[in-house]
């Protein structure tokens, strides 16, 4: 029962993190704001967190899966902090339009901080680590299936959109158009 509960919590976590990626896509396509290299690296870190959550949902919660999530969120936090530091001094400009009073890289730092905090708290419940069992996709519950499909679709979209924007090499620092359509 308890093991199932923690798998469900991880599936909910997958949906929440997927919502962050979906929000980034929404901003990109509706406001035509192309993500900069650091913005894309923050998305990479978000996808890496999703990979850890996927392992928890499919294989069952394990401390090493939670470690992957914390490492990923730490990496994302470092990237977003680097971008905040570029713009923190008054008069140094910003990148992109603000959302609810803060820029996306600031929101990203807050999200990664909460992921680290949340993961550290949930990982402390040792009862979830007993009797690990692989559950194939077909035998997963409805919530887990929706979470996995949503995550895989969003990550696949990131592969395609990043290639369309940057091509096989380096992204421009201040992108204004898609490499694929130039």
């Amino acid at each position: 029962m308890e093991i199932g509960l923690f798998r469900k919590l991880n599936a909910i976590g997958m949906l929440a993190v997927s919502a962050v990626l979906a929000m980034a896509f929404y901003s990109q396509f509706t406001q035509n704001e192309l993500p900069c290299p650091l913005c894309l690296l923050q998305r990479v870190a978000t996808v890496a967190v999703l990979a850890g959550l996927t392992l928890n949902v499919v294989k069952g919660p394990k401390p090493d899966h939670y470690s992957l999530m914390i490492i990923s969120a730490f990496f994302g936090g470092a990237v977003s902090l680097r971008q905040i530091s570029l713009h923190v001094i008054p008069g140094t400009g910003t990148y992109g339009a603000p959302f609810l009073g803060m820029h996306y890289y600031t929101w990203a730092f807050i999200v990664f901080a909460f992921i680290i905090l949340g993961t550290a708290i949930i990982a402390a419940y040792s009862t979830q680590y007993h009797k690990q069992k692989y559950i194939p996709f077909r035998q997963q519950g409805g919530l887990a299936k929706v979470a996995i499909v949503t995550a895989v679709v969003l990550v696949s979209m990131n592969v395609i959109v990043a290639f369309a924007e940057c091509g096989p090499l380096q992204c421009p620092d201040n992108p204004t158009s898609y490499w694929l359509f130039d």
Binding site: C36, L41, A51, A162
Partner: protein, 51 residues
């Protein structure tokens, strides 16, 4: 390069779904090292975004 990073993490997820945990861990390790390398590449170069 950026799409390769996304692709590697997608592979991690697919390996996890295929019950290949050890391989997914190794792929994760490669992906996070490459991501860090790419971050350092961008962090040390002089960015031309609106400063």
């Amino acid at each position: 390069m950026m799409s390769l990073l996304f692709l590697l993490f997608l592979v991690v997820m697919i390996l996890a779904l295929s019950d290949k945990e050890t391989l997914s861990f190794k792929t994760f390790g490669v992906a996070i090292i490459l991501s860090t390398f790419w971050f350092l590449h961008h962090a040390t170069s002089s960015l031309e975004i609106q400063l």
